[in-house]
Symmetry: C2
DNA sequence: ATAATAAATGTAAAATGTACGTTAATTACA
DNA sequence: TGTAATTAACGTACATTTTACATTTATTAT
């Protein structure tokens, strides 16, 4: 009996593991997703998230960083694990887990040439084509996560340049939440959080008057965080 | 060049995948964690989360359910993926990913005999022993998730019996948040959410007067959810 | 000079959160 | 039998935050 059980528990099957990246950007007031053509069979050539098999000697998060750098040239961007996708039949070819990670990047900073070379393309999130396997589901889950998380943590800022205007930030929140916000209340709430640094520069791309540029004060933010400070934009 | 790249992308290493369960209960005003003695080498006999290798033909979530049922006899309990743990060196023996899932159970409903038989034991979360591999980290992460999630979703209720009193629920929130709550404000806030059904019964285990029992109104809750209703207990 | 445009500011009412004190129901036991 | 002890339940006043809404400001193209 004991032996039987031991044997049962010891069933060890090996499988593949993939790291797939949901790469979001923000441009022209829209959230964008970077997709590319799948490089391996089956389904080679179909639109797919950017991903790679995880190698035996690398961390899952490293695998994601590796592939992100390879395609976009970017390092040190915001990236966070979304979740693992582990349905037995998710890949028709062979058993393969995927650990999905989402990245938020400043869309103007990536290496366009590299992206071009890998056949990658930015899609508006309202116009995402059919993707391989369960990748559409991953994108939906990542958007949901972004929506939830942006409310209580300043992660959305990773989609904007270091210097940004309040109207820009509002526009970002409006597309994330998919609803309009009152500009007066938005500004008031935001400034009350005391984590923005007003600069002496203006951005005049959107108006004659120009809007003041701000930077996020991460230092103060992390200080306040320790005391249970609540960043919340609703 | 193209071939080289194709080869590079095609590096496919197989590895093991484990499903580990962080099983929380609530008893005597404390959050408890169910641990057992590891059944496989290496580290056989050490305290460990309950887990199993994922088999080739089963979903990751199924693996977690399988092992949970095996040890506690429980089915249909609240269980949710926490995250995947994918450090290359997390298991000294061989490359093994773990997909951690946390479960919230009513501690009185599990099969004590089964648990006994598997050498499992409930630990107060303040008295968790050293666990194998990165399991202590998993527990910390799961507690953090519980703390975050309980604030905006009524998942804590899964730790209580179907019928519970308001003081019981408050006690639960107090241990989750690790801070005292004002009983008058807690009650007011909770009842204002309009998702509790007051019963005609009282629970007299904690006082002479007895406290009225309530049930959570999942039906109404799910209705309200559709309209962007916000369950929030802070 | 003026028109056009988005940025920035203000304010009053409503809703929610916070900090308290008091009363109510029940049982053990004097 | 009534009184003390104990937790449950309720209420209120004040502070804070959210919401709804209108006007002024800075700038440039004409």
């Amino acid at each position: 009996m004991a032996n039987l059980e031991t044997d049962l528990y010891s069933v060890k099957d090996k499988m593949y593991a993939a790291a797939d990246c949901i790469i979001f950007g923000f441009e022209g007031g829209r959230i964008k997703l970077l997709l590319f053509r799948r490089r391996v069979e089956p389904l080679k050539g179909e639109w797919s998230l950017i991903g790679s098999f995880v190698r035996l000697d690398e961390d899952v998060s490293e695998a994601a960083k590796r592939v992100l750098k390879e395609i976009t040239g970017l390092e040190n961007v915001f990236m966070e694990q979304l979740k693992a996708y582990g349905k037995a039949d998710r890949d028709p070819g062979f058993r393969c887990l995927s650990i999905a990670q989402y990245a938020l990047i400043q869309i103007d900073e990536y290496d366009g040439e590299l992206v071009e070379k890998h056949g990658a393309h930015w899609f508006d999130i309202d116009e995402i084509p059919d993707l391989v396997l369960d990748h559409n589901q991953m994108v939906q889950d990542a958007l949901e996560r972004l929506k939830q998380k942006a409310r209580y943590q300043p992660i959305g800022l990773n989609l904007l340049p270091e210097k940004f205007t309040i109207p820009q930030l509002q526009q970002l929140y409006e597309v994330i939440y998919q609803k309009e916000l009152d500009s007066r209340n938005f500004r008031k709430k935001l400034l009350s959080l005391k984590v923005l640094i007003k600069l002496d520069e203006k951005d005049k791309t959107n108006s004659r008057r120009g809007a003041f540029l701000y930077k996020f004060d991460y230092k103060t933010y992390h200080e306040l965080e320790k005391f249970g400070y609540n960043f919340e934009i609703s």
